[in-house]
Amino acid sequence: MQNVGLTYKTSVVKRPTLKARLKTIGRSNKHTRVVNALNSVNLDVHYGTVLGVIGSNGAGKSSLMRVISGIVPPTQGRIEVHGSVSTLLALGVGFNPSMTGRANVYLGGLAAGMSRAEIDSQFDAIAEFSELGDAIDAPMRTYSSGMYARLAFSVAATVQPDILIVDEALSTGDAHFKEKSLNRIKELRTADRALILVSHAMATIEDVCNEVAWLHKGKLMARGNPAEIIKQYREFMQVGKSAAANEDV
């Protein structure tokens, strides 16, 4: 990533009515505000790297992931991606709640770019990983939020791209499933793959990643050894190393 910036306009009109819009015609007062989501970010991630991305809410972490994966074009700079990218930015993308879990495995897998044959061969592993049992053949409308998230993660974690981008998707299900998900992510760490992990869970980042990038208000504040960067970040945020902070900062 070279000098990457992302700005977008957001409406600041208190009451977005036709009357308010007509009033602004021909006047200099604008009803939009420009947000600098990313500001001249330079970053390179090599194969074999597991990069953790940390930062407070609104730091630009999700924007950065969307720019890297080609979902949103940057407004400045250039990004070069070598290899296939798979994103796990939200769970259950492409799912249809009226369909059974089984049908959604296909729907979600196809949405993630897998072929039908790949899903066929992986189906049993996905169903087993989700621990849904017979519920896999029930409509997803009947699922609890935990069951929904478990199946969604199981599908997403099956995709085997060159570059995998995971945004806050590890905090799914109960403690047992969280651990299982984390182990799955660890299995995906290989020398021929780059992994980018966005999380507020510092313990997870320190455990899984071999590098950390810290973003603040769209700027890259620091990058390097996970323990050091996390320490700097904690000091900056004035947060101690409590159990709660370990989970979410």
Partner: protein
Amino acid sequence: MSAPVTVYEPFRAGLPPLGSYLRSLWARRSFISEFSRSELREQHYGSVFGQLWLVLNPLLLSGVYFLLIYIIGGQSDATRYGHLTASLFLFYLISNSLTGGVKSITAGQRLILNTAFPRVMLPISASVIALFKFIPTLFIFFIMRTFLGLEYSWNMFWAIPVLLIALLMGLGMAILISCINVYFRDIASFLPYMTRSLLYLSPILYQASDLTGELKRFEIVNPIFYLLDAWSQVMVYAQAPDLFSLAHALIWALAIFFIGTYFFLSRERDFAVRL
């Protein structure tokens, strides 16, 4: 390095590299089919008849017009009834493409904001759904026209090119209107009145030859006027369509498809920011 390299730079209105775009679209064809099927099932989820509504809808529609022509109107004109139902079924193929397509991008917000894929897949899915809804109407029409005693001939194979033109027209309209809706959301509220006007301006409730005088001059600006006329000639009268009708329909279909696709592809990288 052998891995494919993708470069992302600031958005400029213009076409993406078409070769890789089409390859990516082709690779996702299974998703288009599965997504369309699931959307179709969702529409009738929880209803008693479920997918049977795909057959019930055209049956009831033709029943209503049977009531109008034969019972209330007191006529027994089989060709008029056949013309009305055949034209109406093809009209619904196009209007379902439009109504499904208009919100295909805005409704696919979650997919667009979280996955990189050729966005044109969404209006294509809307057209595939319209086609899935149309296929049962064809069977019903053929059963109906047999009962009506309308004659069959080899000329009816002209239905294939006419239908292909209609599909291209519906797809082009879905692509164009889905893109317009990203920038001008009010179009979705205008659409029911637009399709209703199109219904009355097209030779469905009347025959193309019934139009006379001033109105006849405006036929040419209606993209589906000659398409529906050609369809009626083929499906009801079992005659070959006029070459002019086919050419008119094809030119409109190609124009709408290419303008819509150009507009869509050149803007689609901007959609995620607009949603």
